[in-house]
Amino acid sequence: MRKLLTSLGIAALVSFSSLGTAHAAGDAVEMKSVAWKHGGIFGTYDRAAAQRGLQVYREVCAGCHGLGLVAFRTLSDLGFSEEEIKAIAAESEYVDGPDGEGEMFDRPGKPSDKFPAPFPNEQAARASNGGAYPPDLSLMSKARPNGDNYLYSLLTGYGDAPADFNLAEGMNYNAYFAGHQIAMPPPLSEDAVEYSDGTPATVDQMAKDVTVFLAWAAEPKLEQRKSVGLRVILFLLILAAVFYAVKRKVWSDLH
């Protein structure tokens, strides 16, 4: 049994370490590491941070980046009331239809709508962004290795390029982006938003907040998953103990 567990452990370790390293691309810099409240076995999303992060997304990121997989109604996860959600949704315009006359019409957003796309198509997005395509952020925190730390590091990782670095025209130096040059100019600056809860809107604070919001956007069921998991594992531990006792009992008459 001991050997079995050791081998299982080794097999697991090896497969994971090889996986982890398989993700690493190029000469990546070691990322900044934050102890996120939603990490760990009992982790839950920091509601206040996520709400502030939504504000950062809407006032800063949403100009270029979509969030096309997230419906307004799901904001209730973050503690928004039905009225607040209706108000947030109504701030966006949607083309709907056709109506009875066969005409398309504009209407304000509803809670069942997804966050609106900032550009009608990829070509329009590229044309407005010097040829670069700002990706949708719905899954960003899961679509990059160590995604939460990556997003935070990236948002706070702008700086002057080293003297010997050959920065292309229209690009910005970022220590954490693959290849270190990124088309996106530094999106956050001191007091880019004004937080209603009085939290000082430093670049670091906004980067953390929007990262929490995007982590929720990518994995909205994280809290349910962890709480179900805890109960399942506790149940299985008891079940295993019962089976072990029964096994001992059944086998005790053998010599």
Binding site: M1, L4, S7, L8, I10, A11, A12, V14, S15, F16, S17, S18, L19, T21, A22, H23, A25, G26, I41, L69, A71, T74, P135, S138, L139, K142, A143, R144, P145, G147, A178, A218, P220, K221, Q224, R225, K226, V228, G229, L230, V232, I233, L236, L237, L239, A240, F243, Y244, V246, K247, V250, W251, L254, H255
Partner: protein, 412 residues
């Protein structure tokens, strides 16, 4: 202990379709060696995982849309909108990894205890057929979410068939249903991904049939001699397997609930884009040893042949292994070689996940050569020259010889 139904309904059915008797025979009368260790649990665990995959897969298919424009969002719809859809999908995705973990341990157990030797060659073969079908099923399943790794993995692997001389290109076009991996490819992969698990079920039935024909091997490798050596499968092994299952499910749950994306690849959360190639195209971890062998050869056709050869040679194992002794417990040299072979397979897995550059290429080649040297050269030679330890006269004798003296005194 033949089956005499007492219940009149059961008797009525039994006289017309002796199915209860068959189950009774398989569970109560089927003699199982009494010394099976927990390594023998992985067979039934593999069966459980197959059922888990089929059940979760059928429900996922009710919500999934196999179309290049909708597949990715339909998976996200499952993750976000379907009740417990996240659980189903994570169970299915991690379940595939769990299935392979269990099956790899099951295969290594067979190799350690010489379970493939006569009269169990066909049992071994059927197991390898299941393994091949699993790989095909898993590969096609990984394509369905239509993320970047799905698309590029499918492109790389299907392109391998292009290495076949003369007809290679035609075969690839035929597999794709077009001139690139596209909607027809996704549709047929979905269809086959749904079909193959049921083919696996069929082969599993043959696998169990072959198993029950000669019975389980056991840690001594000595065949059952008399009644003293065996116990009925139920309740002894049903309860032992249930305990093993509970422990295994805890391991499964740890990933499922706390690291559900650990064994996946972040790039697969990016929708497939035929115009952007990921920096490193890496298959799922369970394919990495074979991927390493593929890349160890500088020639495409050579690499493909060697990769398929790595599994093909396993079919010849019963004849390549010249030793008449089954269990490595009594084969001092083979025992060492077995563990070196395991390390070699782990090294191949590691190399398979690394970019093909520098020292990784050299190590990949060394590990590949050793894989074949072990199976094709060392295994036959060791069988001829190794001096085995004395075998116990029977399973009973072996079990009793291991009992501590105090316990024996208490039993006396």
């Amino acid at each position: 202990m033949s089956f005499e139904p007492k219940n009149p309904v059961v008797k009525w059915v039994e006289d017309r379709l002796p199915i209860t008797g068959m189950l009774h025979h398989a569970l109560y009368e089927y003699p199982t060696p009494k010394n099976l260790s927990y390594w023998w649990t992985f067979g039934s665990l593999a069966g459980v995982m197959l059922v888990v995959q089929i059940v979760t897969g059928i429900v996922l298919a009710m919500h999934y849309t196999p179309h290049v424009d909708m597949a990715f969002t339909s998976v996200e719809h499952i993750m976000r909108d379907v009740n417990y859809g996240w659980l189903l999908r994570y169970m299915h995705a991690n379940g595939a990894s769990m299935f392979f973990i269990v099956v790899y341990l099951h295969i290594f157990r067979g190799m350690y205890y010489g379970s493939y030797k006569a009269p169990r060659e066909l049992l071994w073969w059927l197991g390898l057929v299941i393994f091949l079908l699993m790989m095909a099923t898993a590969f096609m399943g990984y394509v369905l979410p239509w993320g970047q790794m799905s698309f590029w993995g499918a492109t790389v692997i299907t392109n391998l068939f292009g290495a076949i001389p003369v007809v290679g290109d035609s075969i690839v076009t035929w597999l794709w249903g077009g001139f690139a991996v596209d909607n027809p490819t996704l549709n047929r992969f979905f269809s086959l991904h749904y079909l193959l698990p049921f083919v696996i079920v069929g082969i599993v039935i043959l696998h169990i049939w072959a198993l029950h024909t000669n019975g389980s091997n056991n840690p001594t490798g000595v065949e059952l001699k008399d009644k003293q050596d065996s116990i009925p499968f139920h309740p002894y092994y049903t309860v032992k397997d249930l305990y093993g299952l509970a422990i295994f499910l805890i391991f499964f749950s740890a990933f499922l609930f706390y690291a559900p994306n650990y064994m996946g690849h972040p790039d697969n959360y990016i929708p497939a884009n035929p115009l952007v190639t990921p920096a490193h195209i890496v298959p799922e971890w369970y394919f990495l040893p074979f991927y390493a062998i593929l890349r160890a050869v500088p020639d495409k056709l050579g690499g493909v042949l060697l990769m398929f050869g790595a599994i093909a040679v396993l079919f010849a194992l019963p004849w390549l292994d010249k030793s008449r002794i089954r269990s490595a417990r009594f084969r001092p040299i083979y025992k060492q070689l077995f563990w070196v072979f395991v390390l070699d397979c782990i090294l191949l897995t590691y190399i398979g996940g690394k970019p093909a550059e520098g020292a990784y290429i050299i190590w990949g080649r060394i590990a590949t050569v050793y894989y074949f040297v072990h199976i094709l050269i060392l295994l036959p030679l060791v069988g001829l020259f190794e001096k085995p330890k004395p075998l116990p006269a029977s399973i009973s004798e072996d079990v009793l010889s291991k009992k501590p003296a105090s316990e024996e005194a208490a039993n006396a």
